[in-house]
């Protein structure tokens, strides 16, 4: 079966990487992460494991970056193409709606991998000071970042298919991300034990505390993110098809 995925993905990467905005985003991203890493070094106070756990798990700036970035990268993906009309050019070519959604998702993921990659240099910096980070902890920390980013990117993509205004898409996406982060954390306030259990199971913070930041691979947690991403991508495809009802 012929697939239009490679050219679609290539086109996505071109428009993500060949725009000046990409490099402004990258600069701000590195700035924030640099500050975050500086704070992490102080918090860790020489203990590499604690520094890493803060920098790639429990730090405030880490979460700010993790929650905002998928929104910034995805907000224009479909909304802007709908507004400018190029979506019509793409969807009237012999391509499936699902291929368009998948290409946009993969493009956004590759771009965000590119944003996170420079943080690996911080690991090199830590090593220069003699302390050796635990490779397992490093691996699961980045896996955690990839998992959360994947889920929020798929969500951002869905919101981008709902409107032709990228600001509206960004606001919806950001509200979703903040609620997904904050609601499980505030569940204990209600004092319902079962609700607390549910909240802990879907809490991104808990996933980092219990698994990703500690070098522990939890297949249940990974399945949660994989399934969540898949469902959101399918809903995005349906939403793209739903242009028919507008």
């Amino acid at each position: 079966m012929r697939t239009a995925l490679p050219p679609l993905l290539w086109r996505e990467l071109e428009s993500l990487f060949f725009s000046p905005l990409a490099y402004i985003v990258l600069t701000i991203f590195l700035l924030l992460n640099g500050v975050s890493f500086g704070v992490a070094l102080q918090v860790g106070n020489g203990a590499v494991t604690d520094t890493l756990a803060y920098f790639l798990g429990s730090g405030h700036l880490f979460w700010v970056v993790l929650l905002i970035w998928p929104t910034l990268v995805t907000m224009r993906l479909v909304a802007e193409e709908r507004r400018s009309g190029t979506l019509e050019m793409v969807l009237t070519a012999p391509v499936r709606d699902g291929e368009v959604v998948l290409a946009k998702y993969l493009g956004a993921m590759v771009f965000q991998a590119f944003l996170w990659a420079p943080t690996l240099t911080y690991i090199v910096i830590i090593r220069r000071y003699g302390a050796l980070p635990d490779p397992g902890q490093l691996f699961t920390a980045y896996l955690g970042i990839a998992s959360v980013t994947s889920l929020l990117t798929a969500a951002g993509l869905l919101f981008s298919t709902l409107t032709d205004n990228q600001i509206v898409a960004a606001v919806l996406s950001l509200v979703f991300n903040v609620l997904a982060f904050a609601l499980p954390a505030s569940a204990p306030l209600l004092g319902l034990p079962w609700l607390e259990q549910v909240a802990a199971a879907i809490s991104m913070q808990e996933h980092f505390v219990g698994s990703f930041s500690r070098g522990i691979l939890d297949t249940g947690v990974l399945t949660f993110y994989a399934a969540g991403t898949a469902v959101l991508l399918i809903v995005s495809t349906r939403s793209l098809e739903a242009r028919r009802w507008r």
Binding site: W10, T92, A93
Partner: protein, 319 residues
């Protein structure tokens, strides 16, 4: 004759607005078909249904036998589509964009270079290949859109207002290009400018307020909608003898100019019969011309016909 496009009872509503209202027509393979109507008549909506961008509310449409809703991918493979306003990604270069579109449409790797060279030459883009799309003039962007429509060598071209926003010289270039494609492939093109349609299309459909008003060749439309049964006659500089004869034989006639009389033929009457009678009566007939109306007059008259309020409301939609 095989049909490139078959549209049956197509309806498209946007909420309570009827943008396309029970439209049916066929486009024969190999013909250049003009889709004519004032702005907002429902042309773009019909075209978007054909190209799979919008589904119909009811009714159906086929591209070379492939249903546009149920067999959308197969139908889309056969169409080269130029949307109105030619939306292009502004950051890509002409060559890169055409390469992307060729890949998207599944043109084989080894054929892509050749296809690209061919459409670039066809559309007069040789000097623009390295230019960024966002920097191109309206006329060149239109050409890039056309080159894109042609790149996969589709048997059917669907061009939505291909001359919109162009100056007269550019319009003529686009029309010449479409004219050169005649016979090679089927072309459906929409326009609100009658002269363009008249110039290059073999058949036309006229649509207004979402409703199809007429379909056929120019000749068929003129015969169907023309001033049937009237003939302009002159018999010498003085028309009094002619008028007297016509009056005496029960023909309705009126003076239309110096020496020229318009004669209404009796129902079922043939012009040749009247001519034979006039000659037999010894009148010096030096002009005898059945009257027709130009497509222009037909178009104006059809599109001026008052329509029900419900259809007028539909005209306000983004048809």
């Amino acid at each position: 004759m095989s049909e490139a496009i078959r549209i049956e009872h197509l309806v498209r509503r946007f909420h309570d607005l009827v943008a396309v209202d029970d439209v049916s027509f066929d486009v024969h393979a190999g013909e250049v078909f003009g889709f004519l109507g004032p702005n907002g008549a429902g042309k773009s909506t019909t075209i978007r249904i054909l190209t799979g961008f919008l589904p119909a509310t009811s009714g159906r449409a086929e591209i070379f036998g492939h249903d546009v809703a149920r067999d959308s991918l197969a139908a889309r493979r056969l169409i080269g589509y130029l949307p109105e306003n030619v939306p292009l990604p502004l950051d890509a270069r002409v060559d890169e964009y055409l390469e992307f579109r060729a890949r998207l449409k599944g043109v084989a790797t080894r054929e892509r270079g050749g296809r690209r060279d061919k459409v670039v030459a066809q559309c007069g883009l040789e000097t623009m290949r390295r230019r960024i799309l966002g920097q191109l003039s309206r006329g060149y962007r239109q050409r890039v859109g056309l080159a894109d429509a042609l790149i996969a060598d589709p048997p059917l071209l669907v061009l939505d207002e291909p001359t919109g926003g162009l100056d007269p010289g550019q319009r003529q270039e686009v029309l010449d290009l479409v004219g050169r494609l005649k016979g090679e492939r089927t072309v459906l093109f929409s326009s609100h400018v009658l002269a363009e349609v008249e110039q290059i299309s073999s058949r036309v459909a006229i649509i207004q307020h979402g409703r199809l008003l007429a379909v056929g060749s120019k000749q068929e439309l003129e015969e169907a909608e023309g001033r049937q049964g009237q003939v302009a006659v002159s018999a010498g500089p003085d028309s009094s003898a002619l008028l007297a004869w016509l009056d005496g034989h029960g023909h309705l006639a009126e003076i239309a100019g110096e020496g020229v009389v318009h004669v209404r033929l009796p129902a079922e009457g043939r012009p040749a019969g009247l001519l034979a009678e006039l000659v037999a009566a010894g009148l010096p007939v030096d002009r005898f011309e059945p009257l027709t109306r130009s497509l222009h007059e037909i178009f104006l008259e059809l599109t001026r016909t008052p329509v029900p309020a419900s259809a007028v409301a539909a005209n306000g939609s983004s048809a």
